[in-house]
Subunit: 417 residues, 2 copies
Amino acid sequence: MNYLTLDKAEKAKLLEAEKARMAEYAAKGLKLDMSRGKPSKEQLDLSSDLYMQLDPASGFNGKQDYRNYGLNDGIPEIKKLFADLAGVAEDEIIVAYNASLNLMYDSVQRAMQFGVSGEAPWNAQGKIKWICPVPGYDRHFSVTELFGIEMINVPMLSDGPDMDMVEELIKDPSVKGMWNVPKYSNPTGTVYSDAVVERLAKMKPAAKDFRLMWDNAYMVHALYGQEEQANIMDLAKKYGNEDMVYGFGSTSKITFAGAGVSFMYSSAKNIAEIKKFMNIQSIGPDKLSQLAHYRFLKSVDGIYELMEKHAALLRPKFEAVDEILERELGGTGIAKWTKPTGGYFISVDLSEGTAKRTVELAKQMGVVFTGAGATYPYKRDPKDSNLRIAPSMPPISELVEATAIFATAAKIAYLEK
Amino acid sequence: MNYLTLDKAEKAKLLEAEKARMAEYAAKGLKLDMSRGKPSKEQLDLSSDLYMQLDPASGFNGKQDYRNYGLNDGIPEIKKLFADLAGVAEDEIIVAYNASLNLMYDSVQRAMQFGVSGEAPWNAQGKIKWICPVPGYDRHFSVTELFGIEMINVPMLSDGPDMDMVEELIKDPSVKGMWNVPKYSNPTGTVYSDAVVERLAKMKPAAKDFRLMWDNAYMVHALYGQEEQANIMDLAKKYGNEDMVYGFGSTSKITFAGAGVSFMYSSAKNIAEIKKFMNIQSIGPDKLSQLAHYRFLKSVDGIYELMEKHAALLRPKFEAVDEILERELGGTGIAKWTKPTGGYFISVDLSEGTAKRTVELAKQMGVVFTGAGATYPYKRDPKDSNLRIAPSMPPISELVEATAIFATAAKIAYLEK
């Protein structure tokens, strides 16, 4: 039923029905949480043996005794593994502690305080601006907001960010960076097309110290088999642009969200420069976590195999949410949602001005969704339309119920208006 | 034999004898490293079972599934343990990743960029100065140097830093902080007396945003049984000064130097403020390393027991170095050295202007010592006198030889002059 063409009376009748449904849900006293892209227990169990790789009988030695100080940029074995995964050389990568977000924060912090590529510190360059494809990842936006960087929204299209707009924006020398989740983007699931990757790789921003933040958080997180994507570093090198790219990744959603290993990749020149800072900042990352990860994952193929097991657990959940959305909201005209082939989220665009109210109503029915606006810089969705569904954590029965509640909330929010 | 009262001929004769000794050592082709305070293999072996605490059969649950996201300030079990150890409350501590140096770096970075206690960012306050007890820890000095903070030397006396000088310096509002290793200080082994701790705790610096960096790196690293020391936080609270103190510690030299757990403690107000930043900076620390540490260490008593085992391994090494120094340099008048009751270093003051040359000569005999000057800000020892010996890593036979070589080098450096 197309809600957009209903007359007043029809709307009133539907609203009454949905409110009755809401009362039923509310009476159940549910407590469901669909707000965060957390892996489920079953997914975490896939890597439960990880630390058994550190049995004393296996020893702790590689290039040195990894229980001791040294090797601030990570142990060579895992540097090689992640370099292979990211398609870079071993002098183009640093393997660090568990949180890649921290590597991104540090990159912005260093640029603010010390500058990059011999340019003045961003702190000393007046207003700094940043390109933010939207909807996007709230924690990216929080970092740039903290440093007082002005964020500019650029729409995420089906093949990546609106490149015409990006190419226009980078003519402004105060535009210093851009957030990207190039594969299975958070929250839209967008896979940047090779053409978009190439347009980004060959950009010549007015700011020499522009940095393309390439958060490859979901690089191997496919639901229906691994998908190829043009390698940003290869293309950047082709255009003499490799210093512009800061790549990031982690095993947070490969092994453990609460105890993974993260890495950063860039040009050899950048990595050497960053290592100088890291040698002052820290005595080095946890090398035993790295050793355990290396022994557990073994190779890029080992990672693919593990990701296939994750996919087997995640696929039915994504499909269940899609099925309920289709059943409840299909053809209504008040909701469009993504059908991602990887990543952790389904992004829903509701009728303008109804997202906040939908979250509010769902909460009254016992289901917590990510706050409306969270997917936009400054938590301001100009259309109050986008919401993010995270299907990974709850069991399917809960997902089905929570999604139905979501639909009811979205309908009421629309019909009330 | 007192070298200071020798005449020219006697000196020449001795120099010849020591040079002959040097030639013998050099001919051996030794390759010894006494430069870094690294634990030995035997010490690391004490904690080899640490990760076996993460056997899947034991589960990964405490307050939640620690394999998943959440708890950015550490798991409650280990927060409690380290709070007990540091003598603070659980809302006065954050337990983080492995490197406490990183927590110190972050503290300085945040103060520079964002300010502390509602004061203007240090970046916006012109020249920032810092009190550095000397000799001290090179990595502390590197952090403040990186941020362009002007470091002021204050002599380390037998009971702690020269407090008369400190109390004078803090009248300058541009003096914003002070490095401290209050127990078994690096490298002198000094234990700040309770009187010094109290004088520090009750300071009223002109700068409201002054921070007392309390790097309690060796808080339990006693060689001859645990020694009491007045608690800085208790005393700071007594004087309404608890916001001034930033305490730090880690298990780097309790469990693994390359895979420990670090923590930071301060007033509840400061910790709450810092957590807000950390929630933006990171998705949280490695919680499984924390869980393994908690299960392995169990309690403060568990930590003490483990430290007694470390002491049993370290004591003979410290005593061997002291014995050789006494035999070779005792009564010469050209060297004074510390006899620490804990920590990782012996600090040697040589005759003025001979430290650099001593390191050079030792290197020619195949032994690497920490570079002269490393224990001073900007790597500038104004007297070219202080050197640091790190006895923990080499086996005793090597220590004996390396220390004898050190003595030969020191003698030649003096006699040459």
